[in-house]
């Protein structure tokens, strides 16, 4: 198993996480993915990339560096994103019952190892 797939596997094993993927932040394309059946990785990649780009601009406007972690919370689930180096972003889709604290720790650790 490649290092990339290994980190995706580790994130996806967190209870409540329905899948994870590595995307390109600039163009919103999927680099690698590990998702449950029925989840469209391309849609997640495009939407997450667009949202992150906006948030990167907002934090830059506030005189801050690129975010290290982003959490979009909806009523029935969350999108988590950990921007890394080389324009890559690790993204996870989680259900409302997910262990978000563990997912965050795993993702930050994974992004650090991918860098």
């Amino acid at each position: 198993m490649s290092p990339t797939n290994a980190v995706l596997e580790r994130v996806t094993r967190v209870p409540g996480v329905r899948g994870s993927l590595l995307i390109s932040a600039t163009d919103g394309l999927v680099v690698a993915e590990r998702l449950m059946d029925g989840i469209d990785g391309r849609a997640i990649a495009a939407l997450a990339a667009s949202l992150i780009q906006r948030l990167v601009r907002a934090t830059a406007g506030a005189g801050m560096r690129i975010p290290t972690f982003v959490h979009l919370r909806g009523h029935t689930g969350s999108v988590l994103a950990a921007p890394g180096r080389n324009d890559l972003v690790l993204v996870a889709l989680a259900g409302a019952d997910a262990n978000l604290g563990l997912a965050r720790v795993e993702m930050l650790d994974a992004v650090g190892r991918l860098a």
């Binding site: 801050m64 975010p67 982003v70 909806g74 029935t76």
Partner: protein
């Protein structure tokens, strides 16, 4: 200094390891000597970090001091060591009420009432929160505990308040670092300074234009329901975005040392203030 405080102080001086600090801290708190009460409680906690009574005491003192986030943490610690601590449940219930989370407030107060059905103050708090959940939000009831004074109701756009006056009533929600933005990227209230102390409010407000729509679109298309919040961690600060109304966005920024969950609580409270200021009935 009253006799009881003098006696308790002497007792604690004679026996520093005694539990007299609990009585002394409470006596000082009731007399309004909050700084002294805080020091006594902290001193006791350094000796008894696992004592629920001490965390509960600290929660009441911090609540009186207006540090509601700190009070929340103290009461949460009290419950960690004693899940049946009705005072801590009552305190947290009130904080949830202040944050606008009526459901969680009722849940905590009901648990407190189940544990201590003889405590009339809990039954009264429960009744008030239930009544408030059916009432107009500006008619906020008296606090559910005797430890915290209610925040003043902010003057809305239609009121006679100064438009530049702060709208965020909680002590830690001074308008600095809290900003209300409309859907066109224009700042409605609040301000934001960069880490270099530059006023970046308008620039950030402009960048936030469209974030609400983007978040809404993302959450909907990914089957997450309506979006509730966006938490952003950055080395220089943590940001928390919530939509007080579909047309507005509230940004709260704090130092990264503040836990994100606590920032979320602050943001929820600020959003409630913002809705009241905008004249939106909850």
């Amino acid at each position: 200094m009253t006799d009881d405080i003098r006696a308790l102080t002497a007792r604690l001086a004679d026996e520093p390891s005694s539990l007299a600090f609990l009585e002394l801290g409470e006596a000082l708190r009731r007399r309004g000597q909050l700084e002294a009460a805080y020091k006594v409680a902290r001193g006791g906690l350094s000796r008894y970090p696992g004592l629920a009574d001490a965390h509960d005491l600290l929660g009441r003192i911090l609540g009186d001091q207006g540090d509601l986030a700190g009070a929340f943490d103290a009461w949460a610690d009290a419950l960690r060591f004693d899940p049946m601590r009705s005072g801590a449940l009552k305190g947290i219930g009130f904080l949830y009420f202040r944050a606008g989370n009526i459901e969680a407030a009722l849940e905590h107060l009901q648990r407190a009432a189940d544990i201590d059905p003889a405590d009339e103050s809990i039954a009264q708090a429960l009744a008030r929160v239930r009544a408030a959940s059916r009432a107009i939000p500006s008619k906020e009831p008296e606090p559910a505990t005797d430890t915290i004074a209610p925040a003043p109701v902010a003057a809305g756009p239609g009121g006679d308040g100064d438009a530049a006056a702060p709208i965020f009533s909680a002590p830690e929600n001074g308008d600095q670092g809290v900003m209300l933005v409309d859907g066109n990227g224009l700042r409605l209230s609040g301000s934001l300074l960069s880490p270099a102390n530059e006023d970046v409010g308008d620039r950030v407000a402009a960048e936030l234009a469209g974030v609400s729509k983007e978040a809404s679109r993302t959450a909907k298309l990914l089957g997450l329901g309506a979006w509730v919040a966006i938490a952003v961690e950055s080395p220089e600060g943590n940001l928390f975005l919530v939509p007080p109304t579909p047309q507005t966005l509230l940004l709260t920024v704090r130092d990264p040392s503040l836990p994100m969950a606590r920032l979320g609580l602050i943001a929820e409270r600020a959003a409630r203030d913002a809705r009241a200021w905008l004249g939106v009935q909850e």
